[in-house]
Amino acid sequence: MTGFLSLLRRLEGPQTVGRGRGFWGLFAVVLAVALAYPLFSDGYTVGNTVYFFVWVFIALSLCVIWGYGGSLSFGQTAFFGIAGYGYGVLTLNFGSAYGFTLVALVLAVGIAALFAVLLGYFMFFGRIAGVFLGIVTLAVTLMLERFMAQTAGPEWHIGSARLNGFNGMSAMPPLTIPWPGESIVLFADVGLYYFVLGLLVFVYLALRILMNSSFGNVIVAIRENPERAEMLGYDIRKYQLITFVIGAALAGVSGVLYTAWGQYITPSSMGMTAAALPLIWVAVGGRSDLTSTVVGTLVVLAAFQALTIYGSQYALVFMGVLLVLTVLIAPNGLVLGFMNWLGRLAARFTQRAG
């Protein structure tokens, strides 16, 4: 019991923005609105909101690896794709009976994490850091896309699942929760919404606890100064590898949910553009804070979708401009800057009141 309480105490700490009654009150209000939201909306809009939520996991993964760990990885979309394809192959082969889709979710995320262990071992134990890490992960991602895009022929299949080259895989079953009587099929509307929302809140709170724990403090110390962290006796390679694998698993969650949401996955979900988008959300939101990343991702996604109505090419140009301007003007991210400003304002207000 005391162990659990001490975990809860880690919800606040030096590595995450937001503390005290004000923040958690706001959190409760936002959560309540999110829970009540399907009551006031139609199935299509709710399904679209699920689509936004799905991307938050990959944004959080980049936030952990890049924002907290300081290693810029372009490989998140690769893990996204691996898990997505993994889910497709598993469910197309074994169906969705007896809750197997949930097992497939876990297995697919596990495959992505295993791939990250392999790649991360070569990178971190080879002491690759900084810009080289970005290049190697980018090369892996592009390679994977090219590989999947050429699997069009009938000889490319795993079990009964055809990989279908550039067109990608489709028609895999949605997530299904086994239930006495009739199992609950989570189609891309209210059912999936609550499932993904629950998972999101769980992951968000768990990451807050993790980042404020000693593990989180160590990876931030490594980001700030790897030599110093090493002198203090930490095996930085091990910490970086673990961070990388956690990030890969989160990106994998995104991949599986995306595949289950739209019931398709294509190689272009691992391409250059796909790899750029999470980077933009996280950079614009504020990469060194979980809350800023979540808020930034949702805002930028919504803006992107609104702009896409006028043509997705223009929307992408706008995203590029937004990214360059953010890096030049507000390198810590717009949402994080705004939240810090809000925090200072609140502090001044309470000071004056006291």
Binding site: G70, L72, L119, F122, M123, F125, G126, R127, I128, G130, V131, F132, G134, I135, V136, L138, A139, V140, L142, M143, R146, F147, Q150, M272, T273, A276, L279, I280, A283, Q313, Y314, L316, V317, M319, G320, V321, L322, L323, V324, V327, L328, P331
Partner: protein
């Protein structure tokens, strides 16, 4: 088919792969080696060179002049990009990656909007010749000679000219060079322009051999990155031998299993080399020397 024709075929494929790797990587290598900046918009500078070359050739210029125009326009764009963006980010290397990626997104999509999804190409000049049962394109030989020429020209530029001396001084100890009256900002600008121009040159040289689409930069970028990662920071001690090594891997794997496996071979090679030599070939050579 006798041994000689086999040998020639292998040599030809090696030369082709070597030219592609060196030409697409040297612009990136100059910018990275001299400034520590990874230019993710490198592929878009290549695209820019190819497009300008094609446009000027369509306008009636001969191909060599078109390639020159492509090189110069890319270098000019490079100067503008350095002034507007890169200059402000020298102390934040990771952020230059992110910013140049934003630029690459803007360039790709901007070209798509303004020029359309494809551009009319340029015919491959010089025709081909016959050895044994196979015919080979003469232009590929020209490309191989160009790659050697570019390496030689870069060597001359950085070793025998005043700009080269100032640039190397700036790289070694920037504030000392500045104290001795070198305009380091100008040097950085010119170096970036040089890298961008080399990318444009690669684009111009390869324009006659491929379809011109806004995403064509992506075709080059992986090979360029892999070569620079394996080579390390020095163009001559790194990029050239890395190009040679990777060309063997790529041409060998390609003729054995096909194009895709050539690229997978490159990727595996880079991961293994980086595990063994974290600072690349040039880092290894320089460490041995000191």
């Amino acid at each position: 088919m006798d041994i000689a024709t086999h040998l020639f075929s292998a040599l030809y494929q090696f030369g082709d792969a070597f030219a592609f790797l060196v030409l697409s990587a040297c612009g990136l290598a100059v910018i990275f080696g001299m400034m520590g900046v990874i230019n993710l918009a490198h592929g878009e500078f290549i695209m820019c060179g190819a497009y300008v070359t094609a446009a000027t050739v369509h306008a009636g210029l001969p191909l060599p002049l078109g390639i020159l125009a492509g090189t110069l326009v890319s270098a000019l764009v490079g100067v503008l990009v350095e002034l507007a963006v890169i200059r402000h980010l020298y102390d934040r290397p990771l952020d230059t990656i992110v910013a140049t990626w934003g630029l690459s997104l803007i360039a790709t999509q901007g070209t798509l909007i303004m020029v359309g999804s494809t551009m009319a190409g340029v015919g491959t000049p010089f025709g081909s010749f016959q050895v044994g049962d196979y015919s080979y394109s003469i232009y590929r030989i020209v490309l191989f000679c160009s790659a050697l020429g570019v390496l030689a020209a870069l060597y001359a530029l950085f070793n025998w000219t005043r700009f080269g001396v100032l640039a190397r001084a700036t790289i070694q100890v920037p504030h000392m060079a500045a104290a001795l009256g070198v305009d380091t900002r100008l040097i950085y600008s010119l170096t970036f322009a040089c890298g961008a121009g080399l990318a444009g040159l690669a684009g111009g040289l390869y324009a006659p051999t491929m379809t011109l689409v806004p995403t064509m930069g992506a075709t080059f970028i992986m090979e360029a990155f892999v070569t620079v990662v394996i080579g390390g920071a020095d163009v001559f001690l790194g990029t050239a031998p890395a190009g040679g090594l990777l060309a063997i891997v790529k041409s060998g794997m390609t003729s054995w299993q096909g194009q895709l496996f050539g690229q997978i071979g490159l990727l595996v090679a880079v991961i293994i080399v980086v595990r063994v030599l974290p600072k690349g070939i040039s880092g290894f050579v320089l460490r041995e020397r000191t």
